[in-house]
């Protein structure tokens, strides 16, 4: 079996009565980019906090670089670069002080790489963090997260609320991390186009559970989106075999279904319809179908 950099098995966690993670399995191999998708509050950040040793596993196990991040934080955190949506940066520090401060924790800090990134982002080292715009804060946080060339880069909703330019900087940082000697990235995002572009593997979390996980190309092959035309109109979506979600109305329906499926074709035929067009589903279509956010969800599936 491939060596797993991150190995989470049967992890459960509740906050009070609320079950935030429910028997989660999550494995990331070296050199991969793993996208973590799910609605707000689905459990993505809770999972990431376990990887960083900020939360202790209530049940199940968490191993990062073959260490327990709670017991052995130094062995784990020194090899990780981390950027969170909140970007908890010390407000009172200047940019250059933040760099010096972060460098102190990381013996592998690459001073010239840090300087080069600051110049690319046109960040003034003498400015205080609290004087920076939202985008500039994200860039400063990004430099602090990648300048020690971490073996594992973890980004929690890095693009949230940022403009296109800064989002591009973040995607570039992901590409560089992977392209330069095969380091590993985990990033969570609700922007599915980013995940689709940047991920080799996708893990989908819904209500604390992993609902889908695997190589992006394999996942995509397992689902199809077909447009179906019926001879007669339907007020409610007809129940079709292997359909997950349907959109549309009247005679024309757009269906996300598992496939490629002969059952689906026959089921359409039985309802007096024909498949007009069929193609592999996009990540967004799979996500909406699996998360039950499509306008009409098919319970039978």
């Amino acid at each position: 079996m491939e060596h797993m950099l991150v190995d989470v098995n049967n992890l459960s966690r509740s906050f009070g009565r609320r079950l935030a993670l429910d028997r989660v399995n999550f494995h990331v191999a070296k050199g991969r980019v793993c996208g973590l998708v799910g609605a707000n509050g689905a459990g993505k950040t809770t999972l990431i906090k376990h990887l960083l040793g900020l939360l202790r596993a209530q049940s199940g196990s968490v191993r990062v670089f073959d260490h327990d991040p709670v017991r052995d934080p130094v062995a784990v955190l020194s090899r990780i670069g981390y950027l969170s949506e909140e970007r908890e940066l010390p407000e009172w520090m200047r940019v250059d002080e933040l760099m010096a401060y972060t460098q102190a924790f990381h013996p592998t800090w690459d001073t010239s790489y840090a300087r080069q990134l600051l110049e690319t982002f046109a960040l003034d080292p003498s400015k205080k963090i609290k004087e920076l715009s939202k985008g500039m804060r994200a860039q400063a946080g990004l430099v602090a997260a990648v300048a020690h060339r971490p073996e594992l880069l973890i980004l929690d909703e890095p693009s949230s609320g940022l403009d296109v330019v800064v989002r591009r900087d973040i995607l570039d940082a992901i590409v560089r991390t992977v392209a330069d000697d095969g380091r590993t990235v985990i990033f969570s995002s609700h922007l599915l186009d980013e995940v689709e572009r940047m991920s080799d593997h996708v893990t989908m979390i819904h209500d604390g559970r992993v609902t889908l996980s695997g190589a992006l190309d394999d996942l995509r092959r397992r689902y199809r989106r077909s447009r179906v035309r019926f001879r007669e109109g339907f007020d409610h979506p007809p129940v079709l075999e292997s359909a997950l979600a349907m959109d549309g109305g009247g005679r024309m329906w757009s269906v996300v279904h598992s496939g490629p499926s002969e059952e689906f074709r026959l089921s359409v035929l039985t309802h007096g319809g024909e498949i007009v067009e069929s193609r592999d589903a996009t990540l967004e279509e799979i996500f909406l179908a699996r998360a039950g956010r499509s306008r009409r969800q098919v319970e039978a599936a």
């Binding site: 186009d193 572009r197 080799d200 989106r225 996009t282």
Partner: protein
């Protein structure tokens, strides 16, 4: 290299890269022994994970369309013309298939399509002249 990624049509990204490189080769926009951009460069340009570019290049390499030189990048192979011809044939067939599917949707027969094709060709003097020359 002129490649565009679309996320709306359900085609895997590595396949889009692969197809467009094949297209650039078939149409003579990429010439034999021309160097392809390094993986990192193309990944940064397209904003895709480098592993996706690796996958596209690997498949092109095993199809014999490109080759790596030790420590010196990736180059377009000097593919013999039958291969380029096959690829051109494949590209045009895909377009025709899409056209026929659309025509079926709009209740056009194959004869209708042929008629429209001739009319449109006649409306493009330069193409019509080239076609007439080819027939002779």
């Amino acid at each position: 290299m002129d490649i565009t990624i679309s996320l709306s049509d359900g085609v895997p990204i590595y396949r889009q890269i692969l197809n467009q490189i094949k297209y650039l080769m078939a149409s003579g926009q990429l010439l034999p022994e021309e160097e392809l951009p390094p993986i990192r460069t193309l990944a940064l340009q397209l904003k895709v994970t480098p592993n996706t570019v690796v996958k596209a290049y690997d498949e092109l390499e095993s199809a014999g369309l490109i080759h790596k030189r030790r420590g010196a990048g990736t180059y377009v192979s000097d593919v013999t013309s039958p291969l380029a011809k096959r690829e051109r044939q494949r590209i045009i067939e895909q377009r025709v298939d899409a056209l026929l599917a659309e025509a079926h949707q709009l209740n056009f027969t194959a004869d209708d399509i042929l008629r429209v094709l001739r009319e449109r060709l006649a409306a493009m003097p330069r193409l019509a002249a080239a076609a007439a020359k080819g027939e002779r």
